[in-house]
């Protein structure tokens, strides 16, 4: 049923997806998540190519595991040092991979929105594995899938996203998916890391983590990067951790609060080890669900391709 409602060649972001489309992906992911050893044939004999111009280990290995479990051959190309990657160059690179025979292109690069204009110029299906500070759709889908499996629903949930919202594609994709499915999202962090007008995306804003956590069902803790300190966006990591880090003390009285983190964790900065490894943490489950969600996305795109094959 979900496969029929899916009518897109690419997955570029969640902002333009309907709640039905997002639920369709989650529904398609459920059987894969129920049975972590499940395999499929949706990509049998197909070539999936990776083009990553930013370092990534977990997103890439998750996509790769998903593709292989669906029977695909995979081809990796890491465009090291392509921070100056220009649009034409990126298009050329992707066309080359297409010429090699790739039907699925999994792309991560550092420029927001760089994939959007390329999708119509490629026959292959484009999967956005993170574009700048814009979107990281499969990460948000795995977060939402984890939430749905742990809490039984999304509608009505109160979810806090804490950290560097300004630079976070994970936050943006999460806001789009969660609000589309009826959750109430609060973003929390220092003023310098909360981008202007984020309310218009449907999120509430807080600068006080204790207040934001009151009544919350889940908190998605973003990774804090040291380099932000050099631009005076935060004063120091300890100063940040004191106000926005998740510690056992801060968790006291929130025993049903689910902790998510996209990884890799800066232990002791945004998240104490006791929280990261404690019973409320869903971090490893997120990783497992990541494979399921990516298998679901590949399957839906494969069915689209089958329907649109000449």
């Amino acid at each position: 049923m979900a496969a029929i409602s899916w009518d897109r060649k690419d997955l570029l972001g969640l902002e333009t997806l309907s709640s039905g489309e997002i639920e369709g992906i989650l529904d398609a992911a459920a059987p894969f998540a129920d049975n972590p050893r499940s395999r499929g044939k949706a990509l049998s004999g197909r070539l999936v190519a990776f083009f990553f111009s930013e370092p990534s280990t977990r997103t890439r290995s998750s996509f790769e595991a998903a593709a292989k479990r669906l029977g695909a051959d995979v081809l990796g190309l890491s465009a090291a040092g392509s921070s100056a990657a220009k649009g034409e160059t990126l298009l050329d690179s992707l066309r080359n991979l297409e010429a090699v025979g790739a039907e699925y292109l999994v792309v991560r690069q550092e420029l927001s929105g760089a994939l959007e204009p390329l999708a119509s110029k490629l026959k292959a299906s484009l999967l956005n594995a993170g574009d700048g500070c814009h979107e990281h759709p499969t990460q948000a889908l795995l977060d939402v899938l984890t939430l749905r499996r742990k809490k039984g629903r999304i509608k009505g949930l109160r979810v806090v996203i804490v950290g560097d919202i300004l630079h976070s594609r994970v936050a943006r994709s999460n806001i789009h998916a969660l609000t589309a499915l009826g959750a109430r999202v609060t973003v929390c962090g220092p003023s310098a890391l909360i981008p202007a007008g984020i309310e218009r995306l449907g999120a509430r804003v807080s600068h006080d983590l204790n207040a934001a956590l009151a009544g919350a069902d889940a908190v998605n803790v973003l990774r804090q990067q040291l380099e932000r300190q050099n631009r005076n966006l935060i004063a120091s990591l300890p100063d940040y951790a004191g106000r926005y880090g998740l510690s056992p003390e801060r968790l006291a009285g929130h025993k049903d609060l689910l902790i998510l983190h996209p990884g890799p964790v800066n232990r002791g900065v945004e998240l104490d080890s006791a929280c990261a490894d404690g019973p409320q943490s869903a971090i490893l489950e997120q990783v497992a669900n990541g494979v399921a969600v990516r298998m679901a996305v590949f399957s839906l795109l494969a069915s689209w391709r089958a329907r649109h094959a000449r």
């Binding site: 927001s112 760089a114 984020i198 218009r200």
Partner: protein
């Protein structure tokens, strides 16, 4: 009657400088306005004179665009003096002020002379020269204002780059005033706008792009106003974009300070939400701002707080625009669309009377730049005339006279355009 005469017959003259809106025929001779009267065209002594039939048209002082990037020298793949001035002529613009941020920048009298000479040879319209305010536009040492003036410059600007050093700006304003040149400032505090690409607001946030807050402009507007009050030297604020800058300007003018300002058609007509996706043809500096900012600009233009409409015509070849937005060049073209946009979206909508429209696009720039023989159709004035057909419908689309096509208005249906552009008595463009 000699061959160097031209009669513009049957039109409605709109000359705000003379407070005139009436049916008049205009006679041009030897590059000047010779006569203007009703029924002139019927005189037998003028029967052999070349004429432009202007029935149903407005006959106005030639439009003056005081903010244009012709890109020559150094950027000839984006625009040349020849192509840029052809674009001006097609847009009804008889004079352009060429900004000095070329390669090399126009920062010496010799370069100003070379540019003026090249413009006389290749230009389809008058090219007025703005010299750089500082050597190499580096913001470190003053250019020679007095000698630049002798070489033909009418203004000084480091446009495209902010002048961050306030002490230097103060000296530049004083020096330019002594030399009789207008300083035009690109108001931007680079420490606030650094790395930004769109207006700091919901649209940039949704797109995940670094943003430029309105304060990066207003901080410098306020600084310039303070320096203007300190020195009493005139200052012109380029391409204002936000409500807070407008408020600062309005209060400075109330205090009688010699501050003036311009706004572009794109800031007057578009806002942050109008950029489709990551379309770099909507990327310019300052960026498109919020709805309230646009409204404030419109009100300021109507009440005269903003003196002039100028395009900030900034051509870029497609290779510099068809890029991920963060890498794409800032700027949009405007010479060929400004008049049509102003007629369709301002005058026809009641935001600006036609008299004010012509005032903001011709008389005001002439006054601000000290061009005594332009901006009016008075007897003896330069024969720069724009004949406007307010009823002509057309669509903004290539081919353009400009070498570039980076416009956010592509595909727009407009009503009203230049029927003819006359420069120094010669027909530079006729539809």
């Amino acid at each position: 009657m000699p061959a160097n005469s031209l009669l513009i017959a049957g039109g409605t003259v709109i000359d705000p400088e003379q407070r005139l809106e009436a049916a008049r025929d205009v006679l041009i001779k030897d590059g000047r306005i010779e006569d203007m009267a009703a029924g002139l065209a019927k005189k037998e002594r003028l029967s052999g004179v070349a004429r432009i039939e202007a029935a149903g048209c407005w006959v106005t002082p030639g439009l003056i665009d005081m903010h244009v990037h012709l890109r020559e020298p150094g950027g000839e793949a984006d625009e040349t003096i020849a192509s840029g001035t052809r674009a001006a002529a097609r847009g009804g613009v008889a004079s352009v002020l060429a900004m000095p941020n070329t390669e090399p920048p126009i920062d010496s009298p010799a370069l100003a002379r070379l540019l003026a000479a090249k413009a006389r040879e290749a230009g389809a319209v008058n090219v007025l020269v703005a010299g750089a305010l500082t050597l190499g536009q580096k913001g470190e040492r003053l250019t020679e204002a007095a000698r630049l003036k002798e070489a033909g410059a009418v203004a000084l600007s480091d446009d495209g780059r902010p002048v961050m050093d306030s002490g230097l700006m103060r000296r530049a304003m004083e020096y330019a005033r002594d030399a009789g040149l207008l300083v035009i400032d690109h108001c931007e505090d680079a420490s606030l706008s650094q790395g930004g690409c769109l207006h700091e607001g919901a649209a940039a946030t949704a797109k995940g792009l670094r943003a430029i807050p309105w304060a990066s402009e207003t901080v410098m507007v306020l600084r310039d106003i303070a320096l203007c009050e300190l020195t009493q030297a005139p200052i012109h604020l380029a391409h204002l974009s936000c409500a807070q800058s407008v408020a600062a300007l309005r209060s400075a003018k109330k205090r009688g300070l010699p501050v003036s300002a311009e706004a572009t058609p794109h800031h007057l007509l578009l806002c942050e939400d109008d950029m489709p996706g990551y379309d770099a043809d909507f990327k310019m500096n300052p960026p498109l701002r919020g709805k309230a900012d646009r409204q404030a600009l419109l009100e300021a233009l109507a009440d005269g707080t903003i003196d002039a409409i100028a395009t900030d015509h900034a051509p870029h070849r497609p290779q510099r625009k068809e890029l991920p937005l963060e890498l794409a060049a800032f700027g949009v073209i405007g010479l060929e669309t400004a008049l049509g946009l102003a007629l369709t979206r301002l005058a026809a909508k009641g935001a600006l009377s036609r008299r004010k429209l012509i005032e903001r696009m011709s008389c005001a720039p002439a006054r601000l730049l000290g061009l005594k023989s332009k901006g009016s159709l008075r007897r003896g004035a330069d024969a720069d005339v724009t004949v406007i057909d307010p009823a002509a419908s057309w669509t903004v689309k290539p081919p353009f006279e400009s070498l570039s096509r980076n416009t956010p208005f592509a595909g727009l249906r407009l009503k009203g355009r230049a029927r003819a552009t006359i420069v120094g008595g010669r027909v530079a463009y006729a539809l």
